[in-house]
């Protein structure tokens, strides 16, 4: 089915078995499909932060901006605001987007900029070799917290819902089919979309077994219902041993920032005369 393997010259340096491979394979398939059905590949732009996750842009032969730690979201917003015909997808880590650059996520959601944010949520900092992240459970023993963290995790989806995101979903690197469906929907959703992917880090925090036991796919859930979304999002707080729902929690149609942004016809020719006109008013 895939007419283009989208590979680059970059050798893959993720650990064998890393959950990032599911995200990579999933997004490549989805990009291939969408480029056939929806819009050509050159209209996609991938943006990443810094962490193990960020390497993904090196592995996909599509336009990309490999930005800095925590800051992929505003770069993506700028690209989208420059040209609303582009499909802009951010790949961010949990340390990256929920920690270092959290402010940007909240504001992008609030603006409803039409970008897609995919969080490689391995619930720790992996590239810096094992520290806790904003979604690590209470008591997490990373190398900066050898006695266990003393602060509870954040529920990022709850925060995103409060920030007025218009598409919120959770996937898992264990379930590729669901992941692809969510990626597709999130990219096609008009507005700010976030997919929190429970990505297993086999080296530092192998939750494979744990997730296998706890995750389930939402059924009979109405993503158009805010209260239902709120309840479903709060079923698991990234800390307790509750069941972990996967799927789309919330989806709402709302005008995007770019739609509302005033756009004026580019009228470069008259620039000089307009400068003159302005100056003449100051005489």
């Amino acid at each position: 089915m895939s007419q283009n393997n989208l590979n680059t010259s970059a050798p893959n340096t993720w650990c064998p078995g890393c959950g990032n491979f599911a995200i990579l394979n999933g997004i490549k398939k989805v990009l291939n499909e969408l480029s056939e059905e929806v819009c050509p590949l050159e209209k996609f732009v991938l943006v990443s932060g810094i962490g193990c996750h960020g390497k993904i842009v090196d592995y996909v032969n599509v336009n990309s901006f490999y930005s800095i730690h925590g800051r992929s979201v505003p770069v993506a917003e700028g690209i989208k605001m420059a040209n609303s015909g582009l499909k802009v997808i951010c790949f961010a880590g949990d340390g990256d987007a929920y920690g270092e650059g959290l402010e940007h996520l909240i504001f992008a959601a609030k603006r409803n900029v039409d970008i897609t944010v995919i969080i490689h949520n391995n619930r720790l900092y992996s590239l810096t070799a094992f520290q806790y992240s904003p979604t690590s459970p209470l008591g997490f023993k990373g190398r900066s917290t050898p006695n266990g963290t003393i602060e509870p995790p954040l529920n990022p989806l709850e925060l995103m819902l409060a920030s007025q995101a218009t598409y919120l979903a959770r996937g898992s690197s264990l379930k590729l089919d669901l992941l692809m469906r969510l990626f597709r929907e999130a990219i096609m959703h008009k507005g700010f979309a976030l997919v929190d992917v429970l990505q297993v880090c086999v080296t530092f925090n192998n939750l494979y077994e744990y997730y296998s036991k706890h995750v389930y796919e939402l059924e009979n859930h109405d993503p158009g219902n805010f209260q239902a979304a709120f309840n479903a999002i709060r079923e698991w707080d990234y800390n307790s041993d509750a069941r972990i729902p996967l799927g789309v929690f919330y989806q709402k149609e709302a005008p995007t920032f770019e739609d509302k942004m005033m756009s004026f016809p580019a009228d470069i020719e008259s620039k000089d005369s307009k400068i003159k006109e302005f100056l003449s008013k100051r005489m």
Binding site: S67, I68, G78, F107
Partner: protein, 557 residues
């Protein structure tokens, strides 16, 4: 009177800004050249605020110590500024205020029942300004028609009451001193901020992104107001981090973008400044200085971020830094900074300060110098696209998304020609060489630009060394004292050649800077040029002509 100054003062929020512009306009229309200095505290209502409007026969960009007309809206203004009144200076204010103030008997005064007139018209307190302006206009012999014309230009819906009140003030006033009208056409009166904005627009600006911070907030306001006329996108995001990153996103997509901030905001931008250097995505930053460290004196001026502008950001990368000294230079160099950022795919910093940004003066668009419209080096589509293709000049062809036959990958990691991350030693060196090589060509190109200017007597062996907004005061003073002035405009890459040319024959070099450590003096030392003396001011206020004169005379006597 060939040259005179007016000080108007009152409580912050009492309409001083508007009155200042009207007074400037009156003198501009009367054929004077005007320079306005605005002094205001960092609050919205209540503190003391004042402006000095200086009028002269020739173009000026500095103010003097002595005031010829003191227009006071409250007692505080009299208390604070009376000592500045020149020998035959005059005070104009409300009659009651005059009584209360009990000024020395020899003071020439004009009391007008301003408060009463405004009450009679049931008009708001701010209109006391208009009455005061009316009284002043008559005092210097300006015709009522001109006053009316200018009021009409400046007031919208409340024009009728304003004119009525202004006339009352005018009629109650007397001609104290009829100014001789110089015969010259008026020139537009604009602020430094506006000159920068127009220059950026001239250079092809499409997008402006900014988080408000004095002294660049007026740029944000200007662009937002003018967005329609100049086809601009104007965005005010969550923080300066967001600002510069969004700007890089816009630039990656091919849109010419600028950002504006001051020191504190620039601190937040430095990581992305470096990202611009590495990813070769152009960035244009207007950095307006104010006194630091930290929040410092938010609404005052300084030149203490030269080092910061030159060295901010991790790693080594090419940057363009220019410090314009007046309105024409602000216009010209803002356009150039944008063009050069795109031509060389580097960050450009337009280093200004509060004095330049908020000072208002006559702008002559015909005196700015010709702005070359240089297109960036674009991919022609004939070869496979490599975003970071190596080249003789180090400049790689740009392409912008969406481009059918090109995959455009930019990165903040060290990368190969395709934009893919590398840790290879040879590639690392090669790519760093490629990026840094651009500087050599930039330096070459800058040789055809006025990177260092000199003024005054070329045979002089003593020169004042200044940069940025000190140009106005230094050049005017040097004329009276017969000194030479050397003003480097481009500060990175430093125009060593042009600077050394300018230094020919100079035996004594005195640096004049608005900082405490002599940052330019230290910079030129790197190029083997020793400054003999420094005159430094770091109280947030600009040098007045008289103050600098005294200091320079001490140094050269």
């Amino acid at each position: 009177m060939r040259d005179f100054s007016i000080l108007i003062g009152g409580k912050a929020g009492s309409g001083i800004d508007k009155s200042t512009l009207i007074l400037g306009d009156l003198l501009n229309q009367s054929g004077y050249r005007v320079y306005i200095y605005r002094d205001y505290p960092s609050l919205i209502r209540g503190g003391h605020t004042f402006s000095i409007i200086r009028a002269s026969q020739t173009k000026i960009a500095a103010h003097r110590d002595k005031i010829d007309f003191l227009l006071a809206l409250n007692k505080e203004t009299l208390d604070l500024h009376l000592t500045k009144l020149s020998g035959d200076g005059k005070v104009i204010c409300d009659v009651e205020l005059l009584k209360e103030a009990a000024l020395p008997v020899q003071t020439m005064t004009l009391g007008v029942p301003i408060v009463k007139f405004v009450k009679e018209e049931n008009a708001p307190e701010v209109m006391r300004n208009t009455c005061l302006i009316g009284a002043f206009a008559k005092a210097i012999g300006i015709k009522i028609e001109l006053l009316e014309k200018i009021l009409k230009k400046n007031f919208g819906k409340s024009i009728d009451v304003n004119i009525k009140i202004a006339k009352k003030g005018y009629d109650a006033s007397v001609v104290m001193e009829s100014i001789r009208l110089p015969a010259q056409d008026a020139l537009p009166l604009i602020s430094g901020s506006q000159a920068i904005c127009l220059g950026l627009i001239k250079g092809g600006l499409q997008v402006y992104v900014s988080y408000p911070m004095t002294p660049t907030t007026p740029l944000l306001h200007f662009f937002a107001e003018q967005a329609n006329d100049f086809s601009l996108k104007v965005i005010h995001p969550e923080s300066e981090l967001g600002v510069i990153l969004m700007a890089l996103g816009f630039a990656y997509a091919g849109q010419k973008t600028a950002v504006g901030t001051s020191g504190g905001g620039f601190c937040l931008m430095t990581e992305s400044l470096s990202l611009s250097g590495m990813s070769e995505v152009p960035a244009v930053i207007v950095l307006g200085q104010r006194p630091g460290p930290s929040t410092g004196l938010p609404t005052y001026s300084s030149q203490s971020d030269l080092n910061f502008a030159l060295y901010a950001g991790q790693g080594e990368f090419v940057r363009f830094v220019v410090a314009p000294g007046d309105l024409e230079e602000a216009y010209y160099w803002s356009a150039c900074a944008l063009n050069l950022a795109w031509k060389y795919q580097i960050p450009s910093i337009i280093l200004t300060d509060k004095n330049l940004n908020e000072g208002i003066g006559n702008f002559d668009v015909n005196e700015t110098g010709e702005i070359k419209e240089d297109n960036p080096y674009l991919w022609d589509g004939t070869t496979d696209y490599h975003r970071y293709a190596d080249s003789k000049t180090g400049i790689s062809p740009m392409a912008f998304v969406p481009e059918k036959n090109a995959v455009i990958k930019v990165s903040g990691y060290e990368h190969d020609e395709l934009g893919i991350t590398t840790e290879d030693a040879a590639v690392t060196k090669k790519m760093q060489d490629k990026r840094l090589r651009k500087e050599k060509y930039l330096i070459e190109e800058l040789k055809s630009f006025p990177t260092v200017k000199t003024y005054g007597d070329d045979k002089q062996t003593t020169a004042l060394l200044c940069w940025g907004s000190n140009k106005g005061v230094c050049v005017e003073l040097a004329q009276t004292l017969g000194l030479k002035v050397i003003q480097p405009l481009v500060l990175s890459p430093f125009p060593e050649h042009a600077f050394k040319e300018a230094m020919r024959g100079i035996k004594k070099l005195i640096a004049v800077e608005d900082n405490a450590t002599g940052q330019l003096a230290r910079l030129v030392k790197i190029y083997g040029i020793a400054v003999d003396d420094t005159i430094l001011k770091y109280d947030g206020r600009p040098f007045t002509l008289d103050e600098l004169e005294e200091k320079v005379k001490e140094k050269i006597s």
